[in-house]
């Protein structure tokens, strides 16, 4: 019993992290139909900012996460401004290639500064609670709670605020939006800031749970979160959350039941099968032809 609950908790922790990263992909895709392949690397930068703030500047938790989120948000806005905006009217392939290029650039930039794995010190004292065999650590609680909190806030922003409304309108028709007096570039920048900021938040949480970080850490997890976003229905916020938790569950179950060599294979096969039956993801709707 304790064993099963322990694995469920592991599932929840992994799923939360995937979900928060997947949200970054889905935000940008949902609004601009652009797959920001640099997102995994933005996540990595978030972890490194956490390392700098906590390890070098010895900041406490709240400033650390603020630095990581603000830093990555700024990075996201910069990437959009200088890499994606010039290509906004170019074919999608160019944007995708640029996105991959930006990712490689960020990796190598970090690699040049810090080629070695780094240890992120404990930002918050870790407390372990024991419930008849089930061990719950304060970090797990924090990660799950913070992730869910972030998702609720984001869902609110997008559904209920005027900026969220402008983002949704932008995703429908970027050409007409200025006619409403909405500054499109500001909305796009805001979208990137939020998407990248989520990557930064995820990077911080990841660095707290798994405190050895390196410049390549964003690649695999970035791909996985991207797949989580696609499975949930890319562009759909609730879909990204759902996809994150599904991927976390599938991976955990595969690791429990199978040798690790099969884990990614099984997880990805399951997801591919799911996509065959629901090509737009679980919550995704086929894009309607506009006007």
């Amino acid at each position: 019993m304790a064993y099963i609950s322990q694995q469920l908790l592991n599932m929840l922790q992994l799923g939360s992290i995937y979900a928060v990263i997947a949200l970054g992909y889905t935000m940008v895709y949902g609004v601009l139909s652009l797959i920001n392949f640099a997102h995994g690397d933005i996540f990595m930068v978030g972890a490194f900012l956490c390392f700098i703030a906590a390890g070098k500047l010895h900041m406490p938790f709240v400033p650390v996460i603020l630095v990581a989120v603000a830093g990555t948000a700024l990075l996201g806005v910069g990437v959009e401004r200088f890499a994606y905006r010039p290509l906004r009217d170019a074919p999608k392939v160019s944007a995708i290639i640029t996105a991959l290029g930006v990712g490689v650039f960020i990796e190598n930039f970090t690699l040049a500064l810090s080629p070695y794995p780094r240890h992120v010190p404990e930002i918050l004292p870790v407390v372990n609670w024991n419930f008849s065999g089930l061990t719950v650590s304060s970090i797990q609680v924090l990660i799950v709670a913070l992730s869910i909190g972030l998702m609720v806030v984001l869902d609110f922003i997008v559904r209920k605020t005027s900026y969220g409304m402008a983002m949704r309108a932008l995703s429908w028709d970027i050409k007409t939006l200025p006619l409403m007096g909405v500054p499109v570039n500001t909305i796009v920048a805001l979208t990137f800031a939020i998407g990248a900021g989520f990557g930064g938040a995820a990077g911080t949480m990841y660095a707290m749970a798994f405190p050895v970080i390196d410049p390549y850490m964003g690649i695999m997890i970035g791909w996985k979160a991207f797949i989580a976003a696609v499975v949930g229905g890319i562009g759909n916020i609730r879909g990204a959350m759902l996809g994150g938790y599904i991927l976390g569950a599938v991976e955990t179950l595969a690791t429990v039941a199978l040798p690790s060599t099969y884990r990614d294979f099984v997880a990805f096969t399951l997801l591919l099968i799911l996509l065959v039956f629901r090509p737009n993801g679980i919550l995704g709707v086929p894009k309607t032809i506009k006007v």
């Binding site: 064993y3 372990n128 061990t135 970090i139 050895v212 690790s260 060599t261």
Partner: protein, 385 residues
């Protein structure tokens, strides 16, 4: 006109200088993992190599058949990748015409590089590769005659560690977790399992993961559920801190035993306090009292500002073996050097007393067990075969 003569003279001198330098210089190649997953390994290797060569050159070079030669190092990066290690070996041998190669360290690179060394008939000594395939041709099962290593092998290490687990640590039930993408680590885990079971112990579970993973909570939860008395963790130093930490977070209190893959000083920084009290096998201990160790450690520290790790020590010994063999050769030829290495007995290196036997590239030497204590690697025991 005089200027023209001048130029011609300089040119002639240069040419003369060149040929002269070539005659008295011996090129030795080093293949190190300078970038990639284990850059700390490559850095230690390069440091020790440069230090060893500098020592010989400042002492006036090396005496081969009554003639002094200066050593010139050619360092190539393998990036920790098999194909790049192979091309580095190819480049050193065909372009730079090196007389011998030291490296690569990781078996993933050492195995392909050894094939090239063997076919090109150039001696190669891998300081750190513990996989049998480095010195044995896996297709024919025959010993490669030009390939050596300065370290002991996985099979030997795995069995000594199993003996240590049961003997010193009194653990009969052990779990293992290792990276399946690494041949070396897989080999260590398998030998450990076999030996432990032969000695009457039980393996409660074999957990695996693939390189790049950072979340081991699922595996650790399984391990915890099986209730072992010890966890054998033959994993690289960059993964160890995460695994140890996640074990602790799950409330796993049993001792953890590592292999030589732990042996990098970065482990201490990456682990924080999490690895205190744990053991791992090593090739070298900086606080060993064996002859030559103190001088080596002091010299290394003076130049690079840090204590040498086992890669540095093994690289240093690889050069020691090579120089020893060169001195015993009649002329600076690869063939002669190879024969001389095979005859080395009782070479006192910083990693122990090394003996080679005819027809084998694997040395006979002892295993050092280190314990992490007060944020340092402390010598715990020397275990002889």
């Amino acid at each position: 006109m005089p200027r023209l003569y001048g130029s011609a003279l300089i040119l002639a001198l240069l040419l003369l200088g060149c040929t002269k330098a070539d005659e008295n210089t011996i090129q030795i190649g080093v293949i190190a993992e300078l970038t990639g997953d284990i850059p700390a390994v490559g850095a230690s290797c390069k440091n020790a190599a440069e230090m060893a060569v500098k020592a010989v050159n400042t002492a006036g070079g090396i005496d081969i058949g009554g003639k002094k030669y200066t050593i010139k190092l050619q360092v190539e990066d393998s990036a920790g990748r098999a194909e790049q290690a192979a091309s580095a070996a190819q480049k050193l041998i065909t372009r730079d015409k090196v007389i011998a190669v030291i490296g690569p360290n990781a078996s993933s690179g050492a195995i392909p590089a050894s094939e090239i060394a063997e076919t090109s008939k150039v001696p190669m000594i891998s300081p750190w590769s513990t996989n049998p395939k480095t010195t044995i041709d896996p297709r024919t099962g025959k010993q490669k005659s030009y390939v050596f290593r300065a370290c002991y092998m996985d099979s030997f290490q795995g069995s000594v560690l199993a003996a240590f687990a049961m003997g010193h640590l009194k653990a009969k039930r052990a779990a293992t977790l290792y990276d399946v993408t690494s041949e070396v680590l897989k080999g260590q885990a398998e030998v450990f399992k076999r030996t432990l079971e032969e000695k009457g112990g039980t393996i409660t579970g074999v957990e695996t993961y693939t390189a790049g993973n950072k979340d081991f909570t699922v595996q650790m939860t399984k391990i915890k559920n099986d209730n072992p008395e010890l966890i054998f963790l033959p994993t690289y130093y960059s993964d160890v801190p995460l695994q140890v930490r996640q074990a602790k977070m799950l409330g796993i209190e049993v001792p953890i035993l590592g292999s030589d893959a732990w042996g990098s000083h970065d482990l201490l920084a990456l682990c924080g306090k999490d690895c205190e009290g744990y053991f791992f096998s090593s090739h070298f201990s900086a606080n060993s009292t064996a002859p030559g160790v103190k001088k080596f450690v002091d010299d290394y520290k003076a130049i690079y500002g840090s204590i040498p790790d086992d890669v540095a020590a093994l690289t240093y010994d690889s050069f020691g073996i090579l120089f020893e063999a060169m001195k015993k050769s009649a002329k600076p030829a690869s063939e002669d050097i190879k024969n001389a290495i095979q005859k080395i007995t009782g070479f006192q290196g910083v990693t122990g007393n090394i003996t080679f036997h005819e027809g084998s590239g694997d040395p006979e030497k002892s295993v050092v067990i280190l314990q992490i204590k007060d944020g340092e690697f402390k010598w715990f025991a020397d275990i002889k075969p």
